[in-house]
Symmetry: C2
Subunit: 149 residues, 2 copies
């Protein structure tokens, strides 16, 4: 049972030290034992759990979804319908986002293709932004906002 410092865990997982402490704070990771000098000492299982978390985060799962997934991972005898349902919901969400982003991409490309340069008063980019009517309609069926550039 060799102990690993927080820095070691960070190096192994590619997760920042602060982020690890943050996960402890919000209860995703247990509070590990401490050394005499009050430093966190992790064991292998903690690293595994963090790998799970990071992986799920990379796949876009929310902290709350991960909390549920971890809860299930801790109970290997339960049926896995719920885990599948969470993944399924997330997939639907990703699909919706992709559709929206593709619409944005099309609109941006259209704006850029139509602007042959010149001055602002004739800039198609500015013009389209000013006038909703010059835009393809369906970009504005407000789904959740696209994260900014």
């Amino acid at each position: 049972m060799q102990a690993i410092t927080i820095g070691g865990v960070a190096r192994e997982t590619g997760c920042k030290v602060q982020t690890i402490r943050y996960y402890e704070q919000i209860g995703l990771l247990r509070a590990p034992d401490r050394s005499e000098g009050n430093q966190r000492l992790y064991v292998r299982a903690d690293v595994d759990r963090l790998v799970f978390i990071r992986h799920a985060r990379d796949l876009g799962f929310s902290i709350e979804a991960i909390r549920e997934l971890l809860h299930m991972a801790d109970r290997p005898d339960m049926p896995c319908d719920e885990a599948d349902a969470i993944a399924q919901r997330h997939l639907e969400d990703v699909d919706a986002r992709i559709a929206r982003m593709l619409a944005l991409k099309a609109e941006l490309e259209r704006m850029l293709a139509q602007c042959a340069g010149g001055v602002v008063s004739h800039c198609r980019v500015i013009e389209v932004l000013s006038d909703h009517g010059k835009c393809l309609a369906d970009v504005h069926t407000r789904g959740d906002a696209v994260p900014a550039s």
Copy 2:
């Protein structure tokens, strides 16, 4: 020059009252004149500007990008290279995001397709999350995190 209340502007633009005040606070919208009773009184140009802002937000431009775009829209004689460049950068960003989301989608679908139900200990979803090696490699070339489900 008929005055419009903040609620009227909200109704016309589909933007929430608080958001309008927020845009004023961060300097995207000018501070309008006030009535005797201290209520904001907007004019048509303010509504137009807000429409521009909302439209750009819908297209995923950041507040800072919009600030620049508005700055340019206010100077119609300037060349529009910069506006085009902002849109171009944003397009590239959107493209990168789409690529990443498609990779996530593929991974999620693979996870779900391989899990035939059953119990957690054999759940492919949990398994893949636990073990990086069972995942298609390129999801983890850390671009910016995908927004959570």
